[in-house]
């Protein structure tokens, strides 16, 4: 990267990290989650790579297999998540920094849990009626 490009990217990344800090402060003070849509910003690939590197890696990473693959990774800063959603063709549909205790998409919803409970009871009934070996 040329010196000029590097300096420009460095300043953009600094500005984004300050916004992340604001969102984290907001989460701590008001329990309000926040998100930065990285695809909606005019960031070069080099700038994104620098941002990802500065945020670093944390303790948790998860892969969701829902309508394509989603990668959710906690950064070196607890509560700050790097999230990449791809569609079924592998195209990136969303790239975000989420600031939350847990990203919303990782939570199991009440409706899904109720649906799971019904399926579990079916499995249990099947197990009870299964002939003993």
């Amino acid at each position: 990267m040329k010196d000029f490009d590097f300096l420009a990217a460095d300043r953009l990344v600094d500005a984004l990290l300050m916004e992340v800090a604001d969102l984290l402060q907001n989460l701590l003070s008001h329990q309000r989650a926040g998100t930065i849509d990285l695809l909606g910003l005019p960031l070069s690939a080099a700038c994104l790579a620098m941002l990802e590197e500065r945020l670093g890696g944390g303790e948790i990473s998860a892969v969701l297999h829902v309508s394509g693959e989603s990668q959710i990774r906690e950064t070196a800063f607890p509560g700050v998540w790097w999230t990449r959603h791809a569609d079924e063709t592998g195209r990136v549909a969303a790239l975000m920094i989420e600031v939350a205790e847990v990203p919303e998409i990782m939570r199991a919803s009440k409706a899904d849990m109720e649906h799971g409970l019904r399926r579990l009871s079916e499995v249990t009934n099947f197990a009870q009626t299964r002939p003993a070996i």
Binding site: R91, I105, A111, D112
Partner: protein
């Protein structure tokens, strides 16, 4: 309904996250959109085809994010579309009237094709009824109107000089309804999908520009998003379609590219599942999502700066040479003595 199709909350939220990103909405709206979609009744859509070539419908059926088929099953109820429905004749007309009566004031009226108004609109009829009469009959009970493609939005190619049918766009006939224009020849399918999802989620049309187009997709020009833009800034231009500049992928401005004055999302969303868009394939933008693009001064191959570009003569010679070359190759291929099959050896 969605759970039965194996579409849980996470799938819905991911879909909403992708849609809010596509619509340039604040990311925080994804949760609200997912909640609303989970509760939403299927939105009635009544689709009328006027003076058109069916290209808009063809491209929209081939979108993949999300598929129109999935939208039909999940979020909308396509209650009338002549090319897709099984019914025909009086049964189809009955279906239309029943759908309008059952969804009075709530249905989205989708129109593709221009509205010919000359001579009482006799140049395009459905079931013996002029398109303009159908529009005037069904628009008042619609919640909003989607003008799909440049023909429905502005009159498009049927409106091109000398416009013998008196073709106009929807908003030239209807002025007292919310109208959204999704121009393009054809329009980008993902834009229609996103507009439908937005309406189903929030019960209103997204933010529009002065030409009634969704700002999220028509807020910037092709030129501003073009990957060849750095060559424009450096003054590197292809001078013909086969010179060294063209081979190096330089800017096509001097070959008549209308990217600087054309608002659309081709350069970012691209076509054919994100494969490419016209400029990436080596041809300048024609400006098909702008009003009267067919009649623009100088034609497709004259630069916006007023330069000559390759001009119609050179473009014509190139086209004739290409056609002649193709014909010669085709003739040679058809009259070539087939090669004997190679013998196989054990």
């Amino acid at each position: 309904m969605l759970a039965r199709r194996g579409f849980g909350r996470r799938g819905l939220l991911k879909f909403a996250i992708a849609m809010t990103a596509s619509l340039a909405l604040p990311p925080g709206m994804a949760t609200a959109m997912a909640d609303n979609l989970a509760k939403a009744r299927r939105q009635s859509v009544i689709w009328l085809s006027f003076q058109e070539c069916t290209g808009c419908l063809e491209t929209l059926l081939r979108t993949d994010s999300p598929t129109i088929a999935a939208l039909i099953f999940d979020f909308i109820s396509l209650d009338y579309q002549e090319a897709l429905m099984a019914a025909s004749g009086s049964a189809a007309e009955l279906t239309l009237r029943q759908a309008v009566a059952a969804n009075k004031g709530k249905y989205l009226l989708a129109i593709d094709g221009s509205v010919p108004v000359a001579d009482g609109g006799v140049y395009s009829l459905t079931g013996g009824k002029a398109n303009v009469s159908m529009l005037e009959e069904f628009a008042p009970d619609a919640a909003a109107i989607l003008a799909i493609g440049s023909c429905a939005a502005y009159g498009g190619i049927p409106k091109a000089f000398p416009n013998p049918t008196g073709a106009v766009g929807v908003e030239d006939v209807i002025s007292n309804k919310p109208i959204i224009n999704i121009p393009g020849c054809p329009p980008i399918p993902e834009v229609l999908s996103a507009v439908l999802v937005y309406f189903v989620s929030f019960g209103r049309l997204p933010e529009l520009d002065d030409k009634k187009r969704p700002v999220a997709y028509f807020g910037t020009t092709i030129h501003d998003q073009c990957y060849r833009r750095p060559f424009y800034d450096q003054g590197k231009f292809a001078k013909s379609f086969d010179d060294e500049g063209a081979r190096q992928g330089w800017c096509l401005f001097e070959l008549g590219c209308k990217g600087p004055t054309t608002h659309n999302a081709c350069a970012s969303l691209k076509w054919n599942d994100g494969t490419s868009f016209p400029i990436e394939s080596g041809h300048g933008c024609l400006g098909c999502s702008e009003p009267d693009f067919w009649d623009q001064e100088g034609g497709f191959y004259t630069s916006l700066a007023g330069g000559t570009g390759p001009g119609w003569r050179d473009a014509g010679i190139a086209a004739v040479a290409g056609i002649a070359g193709g014909a010669a190759a085709s003739f040679a291929a058809r009259h070539k003595t087939p090669k004997p099959m190679p013998e196989t050896t054990e």
